[in-house]
Amino acid sequence: MSFAPNLFSIVAIGAGLIFFLAGTCGLLRFPDTLSRLHALTKADNLGLGLVVIGLLPLADNVLAALKLVVVWVLVQLSGATVGQLIAQSTRRNGRTE
């Protein structure tokens, strides 16, 4: 009976790992700052989100699961803000130091 949640977790976390890898590769290989930013925000949101979704069935109780969701919401918020701020700063300064 505990096979189905485990399978779901494995699939979700596996997908999250793929997004983390993709985001990091993008961060390394894309040619300029703004496209790297794009790759990074995908890893942030989707990678962590899928890992959290995968961990939800394994949580001990409802409160622990809720805390996982709060962590995800916070990372979404900060990731989105940092993405916007870095993009604005890059555009304003014409990509110079």
Partner: protein, 314 residues
């Protein structure tokens, strides 16, 4: 096997980041590396089952220290003094490196050569914890068994703030410090600073409250509250308070003063300095912790802000 890989990977990453922090030529790469180092260090604390320390490392090393260093670097950039005059000379750098390496080597030798099982007071601490009314042995050590040390630490924090303030120029005394704040009132940062603090304050209070029985406590909760105040100041939604403000000084001093007062009252109530009355220990501890949290939430942003840089407004 997998756990060993995880631990070795973590250790290798942390050492690489530490090396880069020291060797980086420019300031910002070193600061970024240091923040990442702090993040991974809190992971290591979790692997060592020290969750209270991990919380503190996350709050202080991951957030506040980064802002402090970036702010300091920015202020240094704006000064008229040539950078080369104040940088340490080559022989001094070698001496610093040698001393640090020696200290690290000594610590590593001691830790590795501890007998197995290592000598510990943990069983005695757990035996007597019921008398304090607490469930978290770390908090019990901090506020009950070694309350004297904690009280002195809080006094040291106030002294540190005074020391930082004393770096102000004469005409700036009484004015306001500065944190890296937005020049243009952008929508993004304002939105962030309006949405995050309510959540953060809730989480900070919860972590302070839960410290009695689970990992957490006054310092961790206070550090998170401090961070919320810092982000509001960074977004420009509120002014950095002038150091002459009375409420600020009261907030800074409240923690140590209350702690000291409780300690002196201990003579009358329970027969010794910082002794807690029997059966009444937990309420007293919570009372002291509330003021400690308040003081820490006021002190850390002041340390991040640094010395006042403009003359006080009349």
């Amino acid at each position: 096997m997998i756990v060993q890989t995880l631990d070795i990977g973590l250790a290798a990453l942390v050492l690489t980041l530490a090396g880069y922090t020291v060797l980086a030529r420019a300031t910002f790469p070193a600061v970024v590396s240091y923040v990442a180092y702090g993040l991974l260090l809190s992971l290591i604390w979790v692997r060592l089952f020290s969750v209270d320390v991990a919380l503190t490392e996350a709050a202080i090393g991951g957030g506040l220290t980064g802002v402090l260093l970036i702010g300091a670097a920015g202020k240094r950039r704006g000064t008229a003094v040539a950078a080369t005059e104040l940088d340490p000379t080559q022989p001094l750098r070698w001496a610093i490196m040698a001393l640090c390496a020696l200290a690290a080597l000594a610590l590593a030798t001691v830790v590795v050569s501890l007998p197995d099982p290592a000598p510990t007071l943990a069983p005695q601490a757990m035996e007597n914890i019921a008398t304090t009314g607490l469930g978290n042995p770390v908090t019990a050590v901090l506020i009950a068994y070694r309350a004297f040390d904690t009280m002195l630490e809080k006094c040291v924090l106030v002294i540190a703030v005074v020391g930082v303030w004393s770096l102000a120029c004469d005409r700036c005394w009484g004015g306001a410090p500065d944190v890296p704040r937005a020049v243009a009132r952008g929508g993004t940062l304002t939105f962030f600073a309006q949405v995050l603090p309510p959540l953060g304050i809730l989480i900070g209070i919860r972590i302070f409250w839960i410290g009695a029985d689970e990992p957490g406590g006054a310092f961790q909760g206070g550090a998170i509250l401090a961070a919320m105040w810092v982000i509001i100041m960074m977004a420009g939604l509120t002014d950095v308070p002038a150091i002459s403000k009375r409420w600020l000084r009261i907030a800074l001093a409240a923690g140590p003063i209350v702690f000291l007062g409780v300690g002196i009252l201990g003579f009358a109530a329970a027969g010794g300095f910082l002794a807690y009355p029997h059966g009444f220990a937990k309420p007293v501890i919570i009372f002291v912790e509330i003021f400690m949290t308040l003081s820490i939430a006021a002190t850390l942003p002041m340390l991040v802000g640094g010395a006042p840089i403009r003359a006080p407004r009349p």
